[in-house]
Symmetry: C2
Subunit: 351 residues, 2 copies
């Protein structure tokens, strides 16, 4: 890549506690990575004092003032038509114009995907980008995609996701030869989902630098059976939210149970240190930073309700994806596959 230091376009106004957690997150990332420069898009009056208080960002952060912010409930289509001058829109534009190498935002996911797709376009041969994120599992962290960008997927889209997800796992999780599974029902009662089985047939046939494990079911996700779980965005989103919900409910029950008797309270007091290591293990901040894979640019989405520690993790993902040259490797890996005919859903219009 280029010789100049990496530049990250940061939507300083996206997320619940922006811009404070954004600037502080950048400070944390800057302390870990000596190289990157940050372009902060947003309200200069709000950002400047925060930046002044962050010595680690001295000489490494530039503010580009913007007047407007994409609302959390704005429709993707509205964002594409009207949001170009927003902090998110201008940060994406900086990537398009080559002034930045990546964009990170904790703002509206739908708007980010739609504007980035409209402005940056997709990688050659890819009709549907996907949202990929890292989740904890019993064995180790895993990658899941798509988590909500595509409600229906043809076999060819799932094949693209498998290839992109494997490269993501190599780069961000350091798996040399990641294993990839296609999400399927645990025991099909009446019929198979045809596109999933077509995708499996293709994945068995092609040359690849990952292991294709075959089908996995919902239980396999958190068991860590494979490094990368591939599904359509409807199923993936429901599974992700179900897991988040299940863990929250379980933790709540545990708290209630332990606080309902003196023995429970005393046991908790004694074991508190041990229980803290468990909380760290499933801390959602550690898994922050979803990658919008398949776009012609590095686009990372941070959770909107995250703190500075979590936002810094999202910046880490952007840095690793850029340094790992992942988009180039996706193009190279998919090119021979796309030469064979596999069905793909057409790119959909922004609605």
């Amino acid at each position: 890549m280029s010789q100049r230091p990496m530049k990250i376009a940061v939507d300083a106004m996206g997320g619940d506690d922006a811009p404070a957690i954004v600037i502080d997150g950048a400070r944390q990332a800057a302390e870990r990575h000596t190289d990157p420069q940050f372009l902060f898009f947003g309200d200069r009056d709000a950002i400047a004092p925060l930046l002044a208080r962050s010595p680690a960002l001295a000489g490494r952060g530039e503010i580009i003032h913007t007047d407007s912010v994409i609302a959390a409930d704005a429709k993707p289509g509205w964002a594409v038509r009207r949001g170009r001058r927003s902090s998110m829109g201008r940060a994406i534009q900086a990537v398009k114009e080559g002034r930045a190498d990546a964009i990170v935002s904790a703002g509206n996911t739908g708007a980010l995907m739609a504007m980035a797709k409209f402005s940056l376009g997709t990688l050659p041969g890819i009709t549907r980008p996907a949202i990929a994120a890292i989740l904890p599992s019993r064995r180790d962290a895993i990658v899941c995609l798509d988590l909500g960008a595509n409600i229906d997927c043809a076999a060819g889209n799932l094949v693209d996701f498998a290839v992109m997800g494997a490269l993501f796992a190599q780069t961000v999780l350091g798996r040399t030869t990641p294993s990839v599974g296609l999400l399927d029902v645990s025991r099909t009662v009446m019929e198979d989902r045809e596109e999933v089985h077509k995708a499996a047939a293709t994945l068995r046939r092609i040359d690849r630098n990952f292991v294709f494990h075959g089908m996995v079911d919902g239980q396999d996700i958190m068991s860590g059976t494979v490094d990368v779980v591939v599904s359509d965005g409807f199923t993936g989103n429901v599974a992700l939210k179900m897991a988040e919900g299940a863990l929250r409910v379980y933790a709540g029950w545990l708290r209630e149970t332990l606080s309902s008797s003196w023995r429970g309270k005393f046991g908790y007091a004694v074991a508190r240190g041990a229980l803290r290591t468990m909380r760290v293990r499933i801390d959602p901040r550690r898994y922050n930073g979803a990658m919008l894979l398949g776009l012609n640019g590095t686009v990372v989405k941070s959770h909107g309700g995250i703190d500075a520690f979590g936002f810094a993790m999202a910046l880490d993902v952007a840095i690793e994806m850029h340094e790992g040259n992942v988009n180039r490797r996706i193009i190279d890996a998919l090119d021979p596959i796309h030469r064979n005919v596999t069905s793909r859903r057409e790119p959909e219009g922004v609605t």
Copy 2:
């Protein structure tokens, strides 16, 4: 209904530890319910001694000898063509011929669904039966369907599931006016799943004896936002298995954490009683007994790896469904809805 006591056809050979857990489960159910009679289909030599050791079943259990069993990995189509004389096949036949009021099996789900559908048929106007089960949630137990019988569903199928699920929740969970939600992605990025939104439009319009809550996402399931969660069988199966997996992984982490230090071990020893109440709360045996809703007969599926306590819970579900006259109420509730035109997937052939 009829004046004679209820008769339950029991597939005595289905499940990992059949027939022992089946007969002992029937004994436990017989101790709770004074009325029902049991027809045990299976190997007489294996069943008779077990029955002789169960005084509660004296005069209430009859053995119908069968020579064959549907294997756990048998294909549904094979079961329909070749399985009629199996313990499962003959138990279903007893319902068809009016010699029993319900069938309960811990055997192969796909075979049970296919044979029951072929032999009993569906309720008027229903093209797709669904698998419904009870799950724990933060607030209270809830009903989820479909959990794997239908990979794709048209809007009309989802409407049927909502109506059937609400009647199931009324009968088995005692909710007078259950709330029903349609499972959707948490924040749609690019597009909506059309059939889900069409189903919502119908559910808002029709007369119903439940509250239609609208859309719910994956997190809402275990939060207990609604009493009944409706989805296609692909998404429902993945969500169910994901939740089971997440809870198992969380419990495993908790065990590891507490056994990794003396403080953890000591804390666990002190709090053990409290933690036991939590285990009871999420004990999967308490939620055993999935109902195959929409069939022209009461068909209940027990988990295959269950013990006698769990199998008795499945028998309870069958008894409550029969006593609650649920199939008649489903017909009455759906009749006016089916008079309006709503799209439904055609019944699918057995493959």
